[in-house]
Symmetry: C2
Subunit: 314 residues, 2 copies
C-alpha cells in the first residue's frame, strides 16, 4: 500500500490521464478493471455525453474511477452537477483555480485532485484542500505549463515542499519511468500518451497509428501565446510553426487554430489538418495493445527494474 493506492482504493498507483477525445468510459473502465484508476475526460464532452459515459462506466466496472474536468469548460456548473448527481467519487480538476469547486466537491464526499505544472500552484492546491496533486512536466502531451519545467526537476521540488501525495505526469509510459518518478518522490504516476495508443481509447485509429509512428523530436510545445500545447508534427503543426516563426499575432494564431481542430485530428482522424496532442514519450510507443497488457507490462518492468537498481551499491 502507498498513499495513492490508499487514497483511491486501487491496486497500482497508476492513474490514466483524463484526455479530451481519447478517454471515454471504455478506456476509464478498462484501466480501473486492470488495477489502476481510470478517468473519464469530460473536457470534450457535452453535459449529456458526460452523463452517459459515467453511467456506462459504472456498468462496466465495480472498481473506483473518476472524472477529469478542465475548470475552463464553458458548462462547468452543469458538469459539476452531473458528477455530484451520479455519485462520482473522484474528480481531477485542471486549467483553473482549485479554490472554486474543491469545497463543494469535498462536502459531497468526493476526492479531489488538481493538476499543476509548478510548485507554486501545487502549494495553492494544497491550501485549497485537495487530496493530492498531479505535477505535470514539460514533456507531457496536451496543454502544459509555460515555465517548461521537466518532470525530472518538478517532482523532487514539489514532493519536498508539500505534504499531500504527488502524482507525477509527463514522460511516463513504462515501468522504468514509473520507477524513476517514484525515485524522484512521487507517490504515483499519471499516464496519458501510452493509453491513447490502447485498444480501448476512443482516439481515432488514424491518430493511434500516428502515435505509434512518432519518432524522437516529433512533438513540440507550441502556441505558447495562446495556451501552450504539445503537438505531434503534422501538416497542421507545420502551419503553426510557420505562423509563429514569422511572428503572427495572437489573433492570427487564433484564426489559424479555428474551432474543432482537436476533435478533427484526434477523434475524426484527420491527421493532416487536425490538431494531434501527445507527449514526448510517444517516440517509445510501438504498438496498440489492450489496457490490461499495458498495465501488466508496466508493473512487471517496475518490479524487475527495482530489483536491478537494488543490486547497485557504492
Amino acid at each position: 500500500m502507498n498513499r495513492i493506492t490508499q487514497l483511491f482504493g486501487i491496486k497500482y498507483p497508476i492513474i490514466q490521464g483524463g484526455m479530451i477525445w481519447c478517454s471515454g468510459w471504455e478506456l476509464a473502465s478498462a484501466v480501473s478493471n486492470a488495477g489502476g484508476l481510470g478517468l473519464i475526460g469530460a473536457g470534450s464532452m457535452y453535459p449529456e455525453v458526460l452523463r452517459d459515459h459515467i453511467q456506462k462506466c459504472k456498468n462496466a466496472t465495480d472498481k473506483p474511477f473518476g472524472v477529469n474536468i478542465p475548470l475552463l469548460y464553458p458548462d462547468i456548473d452543469e458538469h459539476i452537477k452531473t458528477i455530484i448527481d451520479l455519485g462520482v467519487k473522484i474528480v481531477f480538476t485542471s486549467a483553473g483555480s482549485p479554490k472554486k469547486f474543491t469545497p463543494l466537491l469535498k462536502s459531497n464526499g468526493i476526492k479531489v485532485v488538481h493538476v499543476t505544472s509548478n510548485l507554486k500552484f501545487a502549494k495553492k492546491s494544497e491550501e485549497s484542500g485537495v487530496d493530492a496533486v498531479v505535477s505535470e512536466g514539460f514533456e507531457a502531451g496536451g496543454h502544459n505549463g509555460r515555465e517548461e519545467i521537466t518532470t525530472m526537476c518538478l517532482i523532487p521540488n514539489v514532493s519536498n515542499n508539500i505534504n499531500i501525495p504527488v502524482i507525477a505526469a509527463g514522460g511516463i509510459g513504462s515501468g522504468k519511468s514509473m520507477l524513476a518518478a517514484m525515485s524522484l518522490g512521487a507517490d504515483g504516476v499519471q499516464i496519458g500518451s501510452r493509453f491513447v495508443a490502447s485498444v480501448e481509447s476512443s482516439a481515432h485509429i488514424n491518430f493511434k497509428s500516428e502515435v505509434v509512428k512518432a519518432k524522437e523530436g516529433d512533438t513540440m510545445l507550441s502556441l505558447k501565446q495562446l495556451t501552450a500545447v504539445r503537438l505531434l508534427n503534422n501538416d497542421f503543426y507545420q502551419q503553426v510553426k510557420k505562423a509563429e516563426d514569422r511572428g503572427d499575432s495572437v489573433k492570427e494564431l487564433q484564426d489559424l487554430l479555428g474551432r474543432g481542430r482537436s476533435k478533427k485530428g484526434m477523434f475524426e482522424g484527420d491527421v493532416i489538418e487536425g490538431e494531434l496532442e501527445i507527449g514526448q514519450v510517444s517516440s517509445m510507443i510501438k504498438e496498440i495493445i489492450p489496457v490490461k497488457k499495458i498495465i501488466d507490462e508496466i508493473i512487471l518492468e517496475f518490479n524487475s527494474e527495482k530489483q536491478r537498481i537494488n543490486s547497485i551499491s557504492f
Copy 2:
C-alpha cells in the same frame, strides 16, 4: 562496480560536467578526489591555459580526471595535441562530429565519451567508436538540443537502443535524481549546475549567488536561432526574450549577444549584462558548499532513497 566506475576506474558513477568558465583544475581535482570524475572545461581556455590547468590538476590529484572539449573550439587541433602530449587519459567531446577525433584519441590510449541530446547522435557516436555517451536532456544548462527531449524521455530511449554505457545529464543534482536516472537505464550521471555552486568552481561568486537564488521557472532555453542555450533570467536574458518576441533576425541576435558575454557573466560576475548558463535544477540548489560535501550528500541520499524504493511492492 558498474560499467561507468569500471570504465574510468572511479568510485562513484558521478561525472562533473566540463563547463566553460566554471570548471578548472580546482573543481576537476576536487571531484576526482571525492570519488567522482572531474573534467576540465577546455571550451573557455586558450591552449596555454588548458596546458596549465592539466598540469595543476595532475599535481592536485592522483585519481583519474578528464578534459571536455567542444569540437567547434577554434584551436581544436592545439587542444587535442596538448591532451595527447600531457598524457590525459579521458576526453569528453561535444558540439561536433565524434568521427573526426575519436580514432586519433583512441589510438593514443585515451577513453573517449561524446555528449549528445538525442538517440540519433548517440548511435552515430557508438558507430564512431567512443567508449560511452552522455545523453543530455532539455533541462540541462548551457548549450542544448533543438528537439527539446527531456532526460525522462531521452535516457530510456538511448539506453534501450545502444550497447555502450550511457551517462545521463540534465536535471540531476541530488541522490533522488541520480537514482531516477539510473532507473531510466543510465549507467552513471553527469552533473553540471550543482558543481557551479561549489566552493571549488571557478564561477564568479556573483554567479554562484544567482544560482543559489534561482527559483523554479527562472531558466529558459533561448537563442534557438543561433545555438540553443539555457539561460538564467537576468537583464541580458530579458533583452534576448524581447528581441526574440519581436522577431529579430539572426544577425540582430548575433549583434545583441556580441562577444565575451558568457565570460562577463559567469567568470567576471556581471550578473546584469552577462550571459548566465545554468540548468533547471538550479531552483533546488540552496547553498554553496565544498565538492566533497556535495558528492557525499548525493551518495547518502541515493542509498537511502534506494532503500525506500525497494520497500515499495505491488
